[in-house]
Symmetry: C2
């Protein structure tokens, strides 16, 4: 067997603004054999996520930053190719934070086999950290009641599109905010959103005033910044904001705080941040619900797959420009 090469993207420097391939170094290393209690994973699909930008900051976010020189972190799905670990047999499809590389060595910590019958693309499209973030953020943190008005930003994004559909499943009136006519059409026509706002076409505050005249009960926020400010002005009494992400700010040196935060007092409302990793012990609950909704046709998703690990960093920019259409993945190896 010819010796295998592990291609890797390693963090070279910390971006101030946009994160690009200049901040990373491409390295190639021979692949090692697993030691006792270890297994080697051949990465197939790598997930590209807005949160990657937070992990490379100097300041800690919810993790200490990725150390300079280290292989860039990232959630991935791969196949166990060689194993000396009793819990992970060769040939098993597994999910874990395998990073921006072809091969990862693991002792099993934080790694789980994909549930029976779910492939890598479906996994990232509807489950994984994406579907679970939507599920627990909407169901647990926001907790909308039937008939309430729910607004979702980044609504055509991986998490937002699922979160909005889940609110509809709960019987809510759902308004999505997205950045193109195509995205808005998809939300309205394919996903059944009750209202859509193209934030590039009209001021969000005006549109919210028009579409949510009685106010907003729940806001599932993926973007922060000006959109959050516009939503705050339109909150209803006792509104809840589930703060999932603030992608509009991640490339900014100083983040823009919401000038209208005082509305929380006036409306006796709250903003609550959350992270999916706090809910992993309840994964099976979410997976069961999501697979049921998929089967019934109540939940849809789309994926945007980029080919080749070498293109991963260029592809990341799509998230911040909003040019991806659905969950952004890199196919690192294997059939499409």
């Amino acid at each position: 067997m010819p010796s295998l090469t592990n291609r890797q993207w390693r963090l070279r420097s910390r971006p101030q603004g946009d994160m690009t391939r200049e901040h990373f170094r491409w390295t190639e290393q021979p692949v090692a054999e697993p030691g006792d209690g270890e297994f080697r994973v051949r990465v197939r699909y790598l997930s590209l996520d807005p949160t990657h930008r937070l992990w490379v900051r100097e300041a800690p976010s919810y993790f200490p930053p990725v150390p300079l020189g280290e292989v860039m972190w990232g959630s991935a799905v791969g196949v166990v190719e060689a194993s000396r670990h009793l819990g992970f047999a060769e040939g098993t499809l597994v999910a874990g934070r395998f990073g921006f590389q072809d091969y990862a060595m693991s002792n099993g910590a934080g790694v789980m086999p994909l549930p029976e019958g779910i492939g890598p693309v479906d996994w990232f499209g509807a489950y994984a950290h994406i579907g679970l973030t939507a599920y627990f953020g909407m169901m647990d943190v926001a907790g909308p009641k039937p008939g309430e008005t729910v607004v979702v930003s980044g609504a055509a994004g991986a998490v937002g599109s699922l979160a909005g559909q889940m609110a509809r499943i709960l019987g809510c009136r759902v308004v999505g905010i997205a950045g193109s006519e195509e995205k808005c059409r998809w939300l309205r026509e394919d996903l059944g959103f009750d209202g859509v706002i193209n934030y590039r076409a009209e001021p969000v505050a005006d549109a919210l005033h028009r579409l949510c005249p009685e106010g907003i009960d729940v806001y599932f926020d993926n973007v922060g910044g000006e959109t959050l400010d516009a939503v705050l002005l339109q909150l209803r009494l006792h509104a809840r904001v589930a703060l999932c992400g603030m992608i509009s700010q991640y490339n900014q040196g100083t983040w823009q705080g919401p000038a209208n935060l005082g509305e929380l007092i006036f409306k006796r409302a709250k903003i609550e941040g959350f992270l999916v990793m706090d809910y992993l012990h309840r994964s099976s609950e979410a997976i069961k619900a999501i697979s049921g909704w998929l089967r019934e046709g109540k939940l849809k998703y789309r994926v945007d797959v980029v080919n080749g690990l070498e293109n991963a960093l260029d592809a990341l920019g799509k998230l911040f420009q909003g040019t991806n259409q659905g969950k952004l993945l890199v196919r690192v190896a294997g059939e499409s």
Copy 2:
């Protein structure tokens, strides 16, 4: 009996920055006799509160704004002087939103007799909207557990000083932020705060880092702005911010939102706004608890009494300069 004159401060124009006597008009009117089902109150003490600034804005806060030309709203205590209302006998001390004037006519809506044995000054110092805001904001909204670290801003203010002491009564470690050495000394020496920060003497972020090295579990915020931003950076996992007020911003045209709002995600924390008026149906619970703590010497307060309705508007400025020491009141009439 000579005819009585009712002196009044009426809103003349909406302040952009500081609210001063220039924005009001002094009027004098003859006092009317109560009609059937009405009673007349002779105002004794008028409460001056930061929230007055919000009531005169063009934009609605939690109320529609005070209309131009109307007597300025304000909570007050007075004596029923003439009554044709079966529920309010002459001579009764009553609390209500009687406004910036000598006499108010009422049909009893929103008016309550002072509890037995509590005078006007004690009422405003420890009970009224002040004590109840501290009580429900700390107990219900923030809900600190024994041993947790609680930070209070505006800590030497009327609400903040009570809220901090209540957290101590609950068994928390309490750090207060105030604007002078004298205030800090009072918090530490007389009220038993565990730590104090004079925000005019050192950067709040540095002081919090030093005094709360393990992080902040609960923040009771009266000020907003830079202080809130500094606290956000030091939050502990699952922290709770009870947003009571944002006095640092009320005189600003555009309010400063917290640039560090993303910390809510990183720390899975929340900010929740509240208003005491949502808790009035539970007044008796708070009054009972507060009177017990006062009796046991566990709760202290101080009041800053200004003489004369004519000085009310100049006195209001003290709240925004931070030069009041304790609950700011105007003695409108009657013995001190």
